[in-house]
Structures are given as structure tokens and as C-alpha cells.
């Protein structure tokens, strides 16, 4: 039962809280919590090739990460999702290439050059501001922190824990290199970090 609960919750890419697991599935078996979760984790890996990862040990939140080696080509997601992932990849690349953190003004300036504007309905992404600032952050692909003592308040963006698990700095660097037609070694500091 826990396995199904985790699969369904993760489908929405929202991290799963331990409290939810206890309330909805484990209930009276609280004492066996650890054992049940471990068993579920083993089943998820054995049957679905998914890893149950705790991304926040303090708050006990989990996500499911694909454990299978990456395959070329066949990407298991529908059209709209593919487009969102494309946008996300571009954003993650920008953040990484700029030293792992960017100010929101810089990010939107970058996106503006790609004809993606906040406050404007994009034909594919719709409300882009909501997508980037809310959806991607909620799904833990991006992390947003406010810069103290700024008025009007400014934010900075970093990679979120899900991004770190689902891709790697190496993959992103290779992506950037491919797009720009250069060798990844061209960017020495990023190359060393990746």
C-alpha cells in the first residue's frame, strides 16, 4: 500500500512528507515505520527501478528518483512535460554556468532573450512566472532564497535537491557544450566542478 501511495504522490513531483505517510498509510503500524519504509524502498527499486531519497533529513521529506541508467532518446514524458523540462534544463544550465546562484533579475533578463517574459502568457508555458517561481520550486527543481536587505525584495535562484538528483553538473555542462558547439573543457572552472 505504501508503495502505491508513494508512486501516486511522486507522479505530481511534490515531495512526500513522513507525516503524510504515517497518516494515510501506515497509521496503526507506527512502530514498524522504519521497517515498512525500508521494505517499500526495496520494492520500489526492485520492481520500478526507483530510489526513495530523503531530501530533507530534518523535515523528513522524500522524493523518488530514477535509478535506471539514462537512455538516449526515448524520454518517458508527454509533450507539455517535455517542453517544461526543456525550459528547466536551460534555467539549470544558466544557474550552473553563472556560478550556481543567480539573481532573479539576471534570470529573467536571460529568459527575455529567449522570448520568455514574466507577466505575459507564453503560448507553451502559460504563466511562466508561476511556473518558474512556484511550480519548479515546489517540485524542488529550483531553490529560491531572498536576498536580505533588498528593497524591493530580490531573490536568488539555485539548483533544488531534485535537480541535483535527477541530473548532474557534468550532464548540464555537456548540454551547454553541445549547444554552443564547444568542448566542455572550454569552461575550466565549471569543468573542474562538474
Amino acid at each position: 500500500e505504501l508503495v502505491q501511495f508513494l508512486l501516486v504522490k511522486d507522479q505530481k513531483k511534490i515531495p512526500i512528507k513522513r507525516a503524510d505517510m504515517l497518516k494515510n498509510v501506515i497509521r496503526e503500524y507506527r512502530d514498524a515505520y522504519t521497517e515498512i519504509v525500508n521494505q517499500a524502498g526495496r520494492t520500489l527499486q526492485e520492481v520500478f527501478g526507483l530510489r526513495l531519497v530523503e531530501i530533507n533529513p530534518k523535515r523528513h521529506t522524500y522524493i523518488l528518483v530514477n535509478n535506471l541508467p539514462r537512455a538516449e532518446g526515448n524520454h518517458p514524458c508527454r509533450g507539455k512535460e517535455k517542453a517544461k523540462l526543456g525550459l528547466l534544463t536551460v534555467i539549470l544550465s544558466f544557474i550552473f554556468m553563472k556560478g550556481n546562484s543567480v539573481k532573479d533579475s539576471a534570470l529573467w533578463e536571460f529568459l527575455r532573450r529567449l522570448r520568455v517574459h514574466p507577466g505575459e502568457q507564453h503560448e507553451i508555458f502559460g504563466d511562466v512566472q508561476k511556473l518558474v517561481m512556484e511550480e519548479f520550486v515546489r517540485q524542488k527543481y529550483l531553490e529560491i532564497t531572498s536576498i536580505p536587505l533588498t528593497d524591493p525584495p530580490q531573490f536568488s535562484y539555485q539548483w533544488g535537491p531534485r535537480a541535483a538528483k535527477e541530473t548532474s553538473k557534468k550532464d548540464i555542462l555537456n548540454f551547454v557544450a553541445k549547444v554552443q558547439g564547444k568542448s566542455p573543457k572550454f569552461w575550466t572552472s565549471q569543468y573542474n566542478e562538474a
Binding site: Q11, L68, P69, R78
Partner: protein, 237 residues
Amino acid sequence: NTAMGAQMTDAHRRFLQILMSKGIIEASEARKLHRHCCETDKVYYAHDKLDDFIGTINRYLQPLFMQIRKGMSEEDGRAHYAVVNLAETEVTKMASDYTEIELELFRKTMDLIILSENGFASSTDILNLADKLKTKKMKKKEAEQVLKVFVEDKWLSEKNGEYTLHTRCIIEMEQYILSNYQDVARKCNICHSLAIQSQVCESCGIGMHLPCVRKYFKAQTEPRCPQCNEFWSCDIP
């Protein structure tokens, strides 16, 4: 874990992940996917052993009350595969994706479709339903949008402004429908599966899927009902 038979490999897991994300795939797509997964994960590939491959996955899914099930599209008769939940008695798979009011609309739409003669519900009828929902009235525009989402998510399919259950929905909910609509739900006389769209014999009332009708009467010069032998009154598709 399993007493005998093949072990699950990354190829099986990849197949399962992709099938789950797509919801439903056609048989020819499934065969291509089978080959892709075996090639990607360097597992021995036997091109005619898709059913064994799926059988292995199913052995591991069984204790989780899930199965990969094969079903036939009522439109074109082609085989499709979908992952189904066996334990659920309600429309639980959908429950997490939609609001209470959307689920109510879906259930009422499903009622309309199953109780109808031809397996379709017109958008006008569905929109009228939306106005009478118990949870909260739904505006016409909202209902149209929800219907669009149901079609995108492959619960309903739309043809000429009318809606029927998508093949994926039929495969997933066959047991649920047969038990909850026992007296009204029709079973095909040829393949014995649930039939949402069907042709019915005027004399004895048995029903058959359209692709099953086509197949059954292919060789016959005079189409006669397999049950009562009366002349088959409907147009052969």
C-alpha cells in the same frame, strides 16, 4: 522472492516506468518498447516473447495489487497494454489528480455513457449534468475545460462532440464497471469483455464490440446472430 521464472531486470523496470508514464500503449508500440528496453539495458531480446516479458513484470506487480493488462480498443480492435490497480474499488487512481467536483462530474459522465444505447454521451448532456452536481455547480466553461483534461489524460475520448470511455479507462475500470453496473453493463458475446460501444441483436439482445462484429461476420455472406440465428439487423462496420 519469486520461486521460478525469469528475474526482473533493468529492461523490465524501464518498460514499466515508460508504460506507467504513458498510461496506455498500443501493442505495436509495446513491441518496439520491448526491443528498446532490451537493447538499452543489454538484456537478451526475443522478439516474440513480449508476453513472457510482461509476465515477469506482472509476477512482481502481483503482490502490490497491480498488473499490466491487455485490452482491445473499441474503435479499431487493436490490442493495448495498460497498468491497472487491482485493489481499488473506486476510481481511486484518478482520485489524486482531480478535485472532488471533477470526480463527481466524471462519475456522472460515466453513468451517462454506460447507460446510453451507443456508448456515447453528448457534450450537451454532460454540460447539463455539470449544472446539477451535488458538490457544487460547475459552470459551462469550467466543465468544458475539465472534459478537455479528461481527454488529454486518456480517461475519455471524444468524437464529433460526443464522449465515450477511453480504451485506457475501460482496461483500468473494467472490473469496477462490471461489478457496479452489473445489470446495465454489456459484455461482448464474442470476446466476453466489457463492451461500452456495441451492436445489439434486435431479437435476443446480445451485444458485440464493433471490431468483433467485423471479424465475426467477415467470412459470412449472410450475417446471422451467433446466439439466436436471426438475421443481423445492424450495418456491419
